[in-house]
């Protein structure tokens, strides 16, 4: 294998692995910007993978992407119902949704396809080569010979940037995440905004899950999300809550994973699992502010309204 060919295949793998991360992380960016950290994202991913598989079996692979997204959105709706509507602790609720989802999806899968674990074979969503662009050396095949999910992820980046930082609704959403009190005083329906943002995050994570089953593997397996939802949350941190940064961070995480596979294939004498750890080290560094000051939204993970305070002291 020539070096160039190795590089090319590495890039293709890196982008392919980055797409589900980017989808889930872009959705989570919106959710976190509104003040909700959805630790249940992993649950949305696995529901997306299963929902995608079932949809693909009954209708077809493209419809599967839609049903996957819906399944992920529903999981996020459950999470948001508790954590946003009822104000339960976001971390605990999210953890419960994740663990519950892994169990439920496994149960649904087994009841439908039996416990024997017969490999399910799904018709996959084909890649679509973008004319002209895909012929750019190296980057063309990596970025522009992918399934529709990749193009959705690319499109989301400028779209979300525009929405969050240019429109009235983006401003309101960010206000709900920074200072729900001030947002409320300005007439922003904080609870509804956070619900919608969280469900959007779930739809995107569901799409990421459907990508896993319908693009990446063509099958469903229990726990096949394999931590992608959690990785997406780290991607948001490394990307510093900005769509472009998040997309770049997703590529970086995807690259690290691909590098690990490539090194394995090359039989290199390196402890390759270390490359899986590298992105997390950088995420921690980003959290600690080593890459400049851009902190999480100030209202992140804080329930609103704080009922008790409101009822006892109208000033707070």
């Amino acid at each position: 294998m020539t070096d160039l060919a190795a590089l090319s295949s590495f890039l293709v793998a890196a982008v392919g692995l980055a797409v589900p991360l980017a989808l889930a992380a872009l959705g989570e960016t919106v959710s976190e910007r509104s003040g909700v950290i959805n630790i249940g994202l992993e649950g949305s991913v696995i529901w997306g993978a299963l929902g995608g598989a079932l949809g693909a079996l009954t209708v077809g692979p493209h419809a599967g992407l839609a049903t996957g997204a819906l399944a992920g959105g529903l999981a996020a709706l459950v999470f948001a119902g508790f954590a946003v509507r009822l104000g339960t602790d976001q971390i605990i609720t999210g953890t419960a949704v994740t663990i519950g989802s892994l169990g439920f999806t496994g149960a649904v899968f087994q009841s439908r396809f039996g416990a024997t674990g017969l490999a399910l074979e799904l018709q996959t969503v084909p890649a679509w080569e973008v004319p002209v662009l895909s012929r750019i050396p190296l980057l063309g095949p990596a970025f522009f010979d992918q399934a529709i999910t990749a193009y959705l992820a690319y499109a989301m980046v400028p779209l979300l940037g525009w929405f969050l930082f240019r429109t009235r609704w983006g401003l309101a959403l960010r206000a709900a995440g920074e200072s729900p009190e001030a947002a409320h005083a300005a007439g922003v329906p904080v609870v509804r905004t956070r619900m919608l943002a969280t469900v959007f995050g779930g739809l995107m994570a569901g799409l990421a899950g459907a990508h896993l089953s319908l693009v990446h593997t063509g099958t469903f397996a229990e726990n096949m999300s394999a931590g992608k939802g959690f990785i997406a949350i780290a991607v948001v941190v490394l990307g510093r809550w900005r769509p472009w940064g998040v997309f770049a961070a997703a590529l970086f995480f995807g690259g690290a994973e691909a590098l690990q596979f490539t090194l394995q294939a090359l039989d290199a004498d390196l402890p390759y699992p270390l490359f899986l750890a590298l992105p997390y080290v950088l995420s921690l560094a980003a959290l600690a502010g080593w890459f400049g000051r851009s902190r999480a939204p100030e209202g992140l993970a804080l329930p609103w309204p704080r009922w008790r305070r409101i009822s006892t002291n109208p000033k707070k």
Binding site: R166, T167, E181, A182, A183, G187, T312, N313, P314, K316
Partner: protein, 520 residues
């Protein structure tokens, strides 16, 4: 007379407490209406009802002659009622302009983009009102006075019939107060009715056309400000004759119930700014070239100071100039990045944000007292806490500072802000064996409690063989002038000593607004 807004026989309860009891209130267009009362008198509750943040349990709200039911601040806003809160409702990381736009629907096109020309509209309105508001910096980077101007501009960008301001002067330098009042006069001249919730009587008298006084949830009086004196107002607020603390010295009030059993209080000199006799020269706390933070704007920059036994060291300055860092260093909770802090063991600290830093809201008053005193041998029996003793102390504290609570076993979170503050203040006095760090100890307190707290600070520093040193950090310049033996001003992290000849509002006010690198 046309009426901008009317509250008719409003009653509002919080649990067992009746915050407002059949209160009537009326606002005329273009008037500045001062709303006065002690803590818990119901001022803020009344403002919140008119602002749509609270619903009354009984009574009618009329705005512009129409009976209305306000369900949210948004409802009130639509009817032309805007509110400027004590804790500003601005998003700190947004710029001034973004905050204005967030609040005002007119800023946006139907497709959700900023309307062309809105920016210049905002600027034009600001200059019309002589309101110098910074629009491009994130609000978090602005001083309190600047934030307030953004907040007012934000409120006034839509047509406003009634503007409610909750204690707007509490955080301002004297010059800024004048600026605010000038703006309020412009706003009122344009026909907006202004409600000014306040606790400084002389300020209200200086700017208000009419004054309403509430006492313990009841309406006491509404009169033209021109015919009222500060003494009459103070009497109406408290219900008996007192001297307002900002008008007279500490020792001069006439026999209120607050001082029973504490003869030491009378030994305090009435002159205020003079040290009593020979100052003790024993230092209790020494800061040498203390710096916190780095870069262009460190929180503290080469601060040196020595606090002696028995002195009150006053630190004036507009909020947000490093006072909080200084207090934390003195209290021993923040280590200097460079420089040295030599501190005593027994330090009492009345933090600025008493609700958050001073109290565990889920604990009872007694438990909160215990939390601060548990290391003192006097409150322990072997490894156990002496709950009986702590309970007595807590009961005495509730009694002395006139805390409005059913009992010392009431949980701290159910107290009003002012009463929480009294608890923290009283408790920290007990803890301050050698040093008391008091951050705005009377902010938000009513006349009577303010007097009691100031009196006790003087008493603490002046009595006994080994009195503690007191560092009084306050944005209330009158308070610093009244109590402190020595004064320094904090400006942008620097501590500038003030010569004794300059112990007056004009000289110190000028230093407060200076760049902090020039004159002494």
């Amino acid at each position: 007379m046309t009426v901008a807004a009317r509250l008719d026989s409003i009653t509002r309860r919080f649990g067992p407490v009746t915050a407002l009891d059949k209160v009537d209130f009326e606002l005329a267009p273009g008037e500045i209406h001062g709303l006065l009362g002690e803590n818990g008198a119901g001022k803020t509750t009344l403002a919140n009802i008119l602002g749509g943040l609270l619903a009354p349990d009984a009574g009618r709200v009329e705005i512009g002659g129409q009976r209305v039911e306000l369900r949210s601040a948004r409802d009130a806003r639509v009817l032309g009622v805007a509110m400027v809160h004590q804790h500003f409702s601005l998003v700190p990381r947004f710029t001034g302009f973004e905050n204005v736009a967030l609040f005002n629907g007119e800023a946006w096109t139907r497709r959700g983009m900023i309307a062309p020309g809105y920016r210049s509209q905002v600027e034009a309105h600001a200059s019309e009102l002589k309101l110098d508001a910074e629009l491009d910096a994130p609000v978090a980077a602005l001083g309190v006075g600047e934030r307030q101007r953004v907040e007012i501009l934000k409120a006034l960008m839509s047509e406003t019939r009634v503007l409610l301001l909750d204690e707007p002067t509490a955080v301002l330098a004297p010059q800024e107060v004048d600026g605010l009042f000038a703006v309020l006069r412009e706003v009122a001249a344009a026909g907006t009715a202004i409600v000014l919730v306040a606790h400084k009587l002389d300020e209200v008298l200086a700017v208000a056309d009419r004054v309403t006084v509430l006492r313990r949830g009841r309406h006491v009086l509404t009169e033209e400000a021109a015919g009222l004196s500060a003494g009459e107002l103070a009497e109406a607020m408290v219900g008996r004759a007192v001297a307002a603390p900002s008008v007279s010295g500490v020792g001069s009030m006439g026999g209120g119930e607050g001082e029973r059993g504490r003869p030491g209080g009378q030994t305090a000199d009435g002159g205020g700014a003079q040290p009593s006799g020979e100052p003790d020269s024993t230092p209790v706390a020494i800061l040498a070239d203390v710096t916190i933070g780095a870069g262009e704007a460190p929180a503290l920059s080469d601060v040196s100071m020595t606090v002696h036994r028995g002195e009150i060291f006053g630190i004036a300055g507009v909020d947000g100039n490093g006072q909080r860092a200084l207090a934390a260093v003195l209290a021993g909770t923040l280590k200097p990045d460079t420089g040295a802090a030599t501190l005593p063991d027994e330090v009492g600290w009345i933090p600025q944000d008493r609700g958050e830093e001073g109290l565990v809201k889920e604990f009872t008053i007694t438990e909160n007292v215990a939390l601060a005193l548990h290391e003192k041998p006097a409150y322990r029996r072997g490894p156990w806490l002496d709950w009986a003793r702590i309970g007595e102390t807590s009961a005495a504290l509730v009694d002395e500072l006139d805390v409005l609570a059913r009992s010392p076993d009431t949980s701290a979170g159910t107290l009003s802000g002012g009463n929480q503050q009294k608890v923290v203040t009283g408790r920290e006095f007990l803890r301050a064996g050698e040093l008391l760090v008091a951050e705005s100890p009377t902010r938000g307190l009513d006349v009577k409690a303010t007097r009691a707290v100031r009196e006790r600070i003087v008493q603490l520093a002046r009595t006994g063989n080994r009195p503690p040193g007191v560092v009084l950090i306050s944005a209330d310049l009158d308070e610093v002038l009244e109590l402190a033996d020595r004064i320094a001003v904090m400006v942008r992290g620097r501590l500038i000593p003030v010569e004794r000849d300059d112990h007056n509002a004009a000289a110190i006010g000028a230093l407060m607004l200076s760049a902090g690198d020039g004159t002494p």
